[in-house]
């Protein structure tokens, strides 16, 4: 019986189909360990080998990785939410209620999306904190730090645009408070310094451009939805690709030399 199973395993592992997908053997040899990483598109975000200290939780706190994990969770749960949600003022709130009470596991998916979003803001701050404390922004990683700061800003903007979508009291007033400051942009906001010089008006200034009107209304909902589900995630993904690529090109995780 055991021999049969072993034969079966051998047949499968040596079949053309299997070999077409996996290029490495399973014997625990250095060559295979390297191939497991190198011949797998996901794994080869990693180099085959890293410095010993880089895998210590104490060093990275795993914070960049956790941030990325949360981003992935947000993408998956976000796509599920998009199946049920319409960014139209008449429907948005009702769709949320439907999601919560009628969609199987809808509440769970919504909760996970919400809490992972808050979590990501926290972990991205902690990641920045760790990178600062280990001085990892120093040469040659200056540029990756700059990319990181943009990612941090994008994370906050993603969270903020998502905050509006439930279209409840909490969301419109939080977004009202948050976007009110745009009124005061120097030159570009109608209540900002030098507004008269630039000739902006309440209906025609930075805030109106952001909101698609003078108050947080239906056009704002659509704008924030598009930003939240399309523009910002794509931009953030692109920058994450650059971020990860740069980590490799800058010589892997920083460490004392």
């Amino acid at each position: 019986m055991i021999k049969r199973l072993k034969d079966l395993k051998k047949t499968i592992l040596e079949s053309q189909v299997w070999r077409s997908m996996f290029r490495h053997d399973y014997a625990d040899t250095p060559r295979n360990r390297t191939l497991q990483i190198m011949s797998n598109v996901w794994m080869h975000l990693h180099p085959p080998k890293v410095r010993r200290h880089a895998i210590r939780i104490r060093f990275t706190w795993c914070m960049g990785g956790i941030t990325f994990l949360l981003f992935l969770v947000l993408t998956v749960t976000g796509v599920v939410l998009m199946f049920y949600y319409r960014p139209v003022a008449e429907y948005a709130y009702a769709d949320m209620k439907y999601l919560q009470f009628d969609v199987p596991f809808g509440m769970l998916v919504r909760n996970m999306h919400r809490w992972a979003a808050h979590g990501m803001v926290i972990t991205v701050w902690l990641h920045m904190f760790r990178v600062f404390m280990t001085g990892s922004y120093k040469s040659p990683r200056e540029f990756n730090w700059v990319i990181g700061v943009i990612l941090l800003t994008l994370t906050l903007l993603l969270s903020f645009t998502g905050y509006l979508l439930p279209w409840d009291q909490l969301s419109i007033w939080a977004v009202t408070v948050g976007t009110n400051m745009a009124r005061a942009t120097p030159l570009l906001g109608h209540e900002g310094p030098f507004a008269q010089v630039a000739g902006v008006t309440p209906r025609y200034d930075a805030r109106a451009f952001l909101l698609g009107g003078t108050i947080v209304g239906p056009p704002t909902l659509l704008r924030f939805y598009v930003l939240h589900c399309i523009f910002l995630p794509i931009l953030a993904s692109l920058l994450m690709i650059v971020h990860f690529w740069r980590i490799r090109k800058d010589g892997g995780i920083s460490g004392p030399l």
């Binding site: 360990r33 794994m43 080998k49 010993r52 769970l108 280990t134 007033w173 939080a174 400051m181 120097p186």
Partner: protein, 271 residues
């Protein structure tokens, strides 16, 4: 075989030469399995925590959006409450636009103004006291504590309430704040203006943002190797960012301890 002695000599030399600083390759470990397995375990733990949390605690959902009913207080999402809290001390163009932009730009330029080569890739306070102190001050003392204040201590009318106090929407707080020219000893100056711009504030802001850093440069740059290495441009950026950051605690103290609202009023903006 005339080469043989030559080779030996080369080998001898190589032995004597200082070892290259690159760590031997033995100090590296395979990602598979050593790194991948930690990542895997970490992902499982985080996902499990998130699931449990999400099963236990529901995301907030209030009444439908109603533009005619403004809640008091209206709070921005918690991660922006640091900015909202700054609104207490600065006008919106500063707190909402200029300061956030400076925070982002300031973070981005850190690698280019911190030219201390030590402390790259390991934890140390000793070797980079100034940088670490500045970062901790900005991040923990200013940013995080403002968020904590905004989340837990602000109630109706954006008044301060302790967590155990009842939120009283009719709490009366005496508005005794005055602008600097009308405060204490400065009253005697009679608030002189030029083109409607207050001279007192103009002088103070110029002193603080321009005269102070320039004077410090001329006083110290001859003797301080750090300043010489920084050079005037980097020094200028560091000084500007530092003084702007310190502007926040300064305004907080002036407001809380001395009831001073604006330092400088002009027809276009107030500081």
């Amino acid at each position: 075989m005339a080469e043989a002695p030559g080779r030996a000599a080369v080998a001898e030399k190589a032995k004597a030469a200082p070892k290259p600083k690159i760590k031997p390759i033995e100090d590296r470990v395979h990602c598979w399995p050593y790194l991948v397995r930690s990542e895997y375990v970490c992902s499982i733990i985080i996902t499990a925590l998130l699931m449990v949390w999400s099963i236990g605690i529901d995301a907030p959902m209030e009444e439908p959006a109603n533009p005619t009913n403004t809640p008091n207080p209206s709070k921005a999402p918690w991660y922006f409450l640091g900015l909202q809290e700054m609104l207490v001390y600065f006008d919106p163009w500063m707190a909402g636009v200029v300061l956030p932009s400076l925070i982002i730009v300031g973070l981005m330029v850190i690698p280019f103004i911190d030219i201390n080569p030590r402390g790259n890739g390991y934890y140390t306070f000793q070797e980079r006291k100034f940088a670490v102190t500045m970062f901790l001050f900005g991040f923990l003392i200013l940013w995080v504590s403002l968020i904590v204040t905004g989340v837990f201590l602000r109630g109706p009318g954006w008044n301060l309430f302790w967590p155990w106090e009842v939120w009283d929407p009719h709490k009366v707080v005496a508005l005794t704040n005055v602008d600097l020219p009308y405060w204490g000893p400065f009253k005697v100056l009679g608030n002189p203006k030029i083109f409607d711009v207050e001279l007192l504030g103009l002088t103070l802001v110029t002193l603080y943002l321009i005269v102070l850093p320039v004077a410090f440069w001329f006083w110290k740059s001859k003797t301080s190797p750090i300043l010489q290495e920084l050079g005037p441009l980097r020094y200028g950026i560091v000084a500007f960012l530092f003084l702007t950051m310190m502007g926040l605690p300064i305004k907080m103290v002036l407001r809380i301890a001395f009831n001073i609202k604006y330092l400088w009023v002009t027809p276009w903006f107030n500081v």
